[in-house]
Symmetry: C2
Subunit: 250 residues, 2 copies
């Protein structure tokens, strides 16, 4: 039987935020490959399905393992959280294809899109991503911190809304504070800043504050941080960014 590989994201966490296309791919799989906590979100529906759980830090190894299973004829699904193409496994799979066995290039590979964390976080607080926006991973495991700072500065100066993925971890407790310091040198003190923890799950929690008051210690691995643009505003408990900027033609 010919193998296949589908790269999916489970969405932010709640079962009803996973797309039916992803649920169907999971149902058909003979083998699931992914970081343990993401695999744990997937209900067991077939006794004959193999689960290959791994640590979060070994993405390329995991990608190669998934590809070798597919090459051996298995129906493999690689499981990320959120959307698999946003700071997740899809990129690692294609890197493994490029650098690995030439036969992997002819495999049946497909990516299923999903609801990424910033969309779930935005929905919890209103519409903060209503204008132009960017997504930056604060982790410097895979890039230089100078690159992160360069992108933060460019985004702040050009007045993008900024979504920060991976804002903090035990190994990187101080980077979010450094990012806020940099942003405070460019953006207004009253810029809305949102900490959304566990967005799109039953335990979600929102803190709405300002850039002046934003404390990096409020974030952990499960937090998505959104820093508003100059137009981002509060209305009651909601925060939104108008699509129209001041000075646009009527």
């Amino acid at each position: 039987m010919t193998g296949s590989l589908v790269i999916v994201g489970t969405g932010p966490g709640k079962a009803d935020l996973m797309t039916p296309a992803t649920a169907a791919a999971l149902e058909r799989a003979t083998d699931l490959v992914g970081y343990g906590p993401y695999l744990d979100r997937v209900a067991v529906t077939r006794a004959d399905q193999c689960r290959h759980a791994s640590d979060n830090r070994v993405e390329l190894d995991r990608a190669r393992h998934a590809l070798s299973l597919a090459a051996a004829g298995r129906q493999v699904v690689v499981v990320s959280g959120g959307d698999p193409g946003v700071f997740a496994m899809a990129s690692a799979i294609f890197e493994a294809v490029e650098t690995g066995d030439a036969a992997w290039r002819t495999l049946d590979i497909r990516v299923e899109p999903g609801v990424t964390a910033m969309l779930a976080a935005a929905a919890e607080v209103g519409a903060p991503l209503g204008g132009d926006f960017c997504a930056i991973s604060l982790s410097d495991n895979l890039k230089a911190w100078a690159t992160v700072e360069r992108r933060l500065r460019a985004a702040a100066e050009a007045d993008f809304v900024i979504a920060l993925y991976n804002p903090a971890s035990k190994a990187r407790p101080h980077q979010l504070g450094q990012a806020f310091d940099l942003l405070r040198s460019i953006r207004s003190a009253d810029t809305p800043v949102l900490f959304v923890r566990a967005a799109g799950t039953a335990e979600s929690k929102v803190v709405t504050t300002t850039l002046a008051a934003a404390d990096g210690a409020l974030a952990d691995m499960r937090t998505l941080v959104i820093v508003g643009a100059s137009t981002t505003r509060r209305v009651g408990r909601w925060v939104y960014t108008p699509r129209r900027e001041a000075g646009a033609r009527p």
Copy 2:
């Protein structure tokens, strides 16, 4: 009975890319409000459901109409394509709340996240959004063209992957070409550029080219354009952006 308002996105088009949470909200609604083509994607499941279709250019009027229906006790769902918070209706709803009837601030309002076009487009071609990225609407209906140019320049200089929403319309046929000209002055000629038309639908079509060869005439209202970062690369028919940048610590 107390009214409510839920703002949803149908996803890119295919029914199996709409979240179950959105499908459930649509099922419960007494009134659907939205741009006609988006409403047409929603299957009729209840004979007693009112559909209020409108033109695409009257977002604030549509928002006020939806809010007044909810204030009158109806269970209203406002329907966008994609994700409702990304260049769609959620922002208009909160703007209408801020500028409208004070009673609207106490309404039961909820936003359901969805799969936005750039995620569906990225999934069709691999993992081009694998690194830091930004989303820019090229429309200057709601902002000055100078703002668009400023953000394009900043994003290109800071080496973001760039997703371009609303790249062209009959009224704006030349802006994408201008955007490519600007990007060519900053980014390498061999930067991958992707035109994904009708991503996440049965009619999707991908054109993969380079910044040197990119022709703005290839895009229309249904096209999502992705311009790679310096690290974005092709492998076979796929395009991906590695998470690791050159020079990152091992």
